[in-house]
Subunit: 187 residues, 2 copies
Amino acid sequence: MKKKPPKNYHHGDLRGALIKAGREILEKDGAAALTLRACARKAGVSHAAPQHHFPTAADLLAEIAATGYEDFHQALDDGAAKEEAAAAKLQAMGRSYVTFAKAHPAVYKLMFGAETPPKSEHLQHAMSAAWNQLTSAVTAAYGPDEAQLRAVSTWSLVHGFAMLAINHRLPPTLDQARALETMTSRL
Amino acid sequence: MKKKPPKNYHHGDLRGALIKAGREILEKDGAAALTLRACARKAGVSHAAPQHHFPTAADLLAEIAATGYEDFHQALDDGAAKEEAAAAKLQAMGRSYVTFAKAHPAVYKLMFGAETPPKSEHLQHAMSAAWNQLTSAVTAAYGPDEAQLRAVSTWSLVHGFAMLAINHRLPPTLDQARALETMTSRL
DNA sequence: TCCGCCATCTTGACACTGTCAATATATCTG
DNA sequence: CAGATATATTGACAGTGTCAAGATGGCGGA
């Protein structure tokens, strides 16, 4: 029988190392630099080594996106924890949301924009966890009726704002922080 | 002196043909299939021919995105034209917005998501035209005060919804049409 | 009318990518 | 300790964007 986390083989934990390397490349040099071979180089292995851990490049991307969702989830929780009232928690989550997107634009775009075929169990789970997190906060703030609709509306607003900001589609004269406050206070 | 649109040379209008070919490839086979060489093949020229019209691949992408903005602008105008009242016009634009994004997801993602360096004059112009179009509609519907903020908020909401829908990040159980109506009626 | 120039296109090459097949190596199991 | 198996390497292939050099054809000036 195989141990769940294949601890010590040739490399040690190449699978994890590749994900970490990919994440670092993504953060430092952007999506264009994120290639299988670059990850392999960074992990100190040969260019075909990743094949045995990720059947295709998309699978590695999906796993990187999943780690992004985990950090994202944590960031939103941290943001909400600073407030007491449910409505304030929700608004704080909105702030943390946009802050995360701006701090990690490439990861955020991979998480939401990529053609990541949600085959990955890990990715699927991380995504629905984030969704449940938002829905819970909305329900806590506004009650259970029309919760799905409110959640979709809230997510659309904040996601759209984050995307426009990241891709420099907002007017340069706009005070983004103030705009976000105003928007999220009208939820 | 050279004519503004270089009419008839070897190919005829390779520049335009490449943009059109790229657009068709994007619509039919998605972003992954959109390569310089594929455009060249479709236009019936050699793989290096595009170099003389687009210094780099990103320049061709930018031009394709610009044509997308033009169609987008037209679609929003058509949608607004169906209504009389300013508020109804704005809501109709929202419908047309999402309809366009769903009908042309790859083009829409290229327009908003890509790393298209806004070096292209054409692209810059097309983008700001779309922005002005929205701001005008918002001003007409709600008056001039806080127009920028309202426009940003509106765009964020609709853009976010469109992106989430395109990338299949919305709950499968959601009635998207109803959600959009509700959201845009609360603008 | 003819000639030269220059924009345009082709050909060929280079480094890079993802993926596959064959081979080598280390770890685990019996 | 030896065979089996998971892991990694090497080498190859087709495809990509980009560059450099050569071929081709239309345009303007004589």
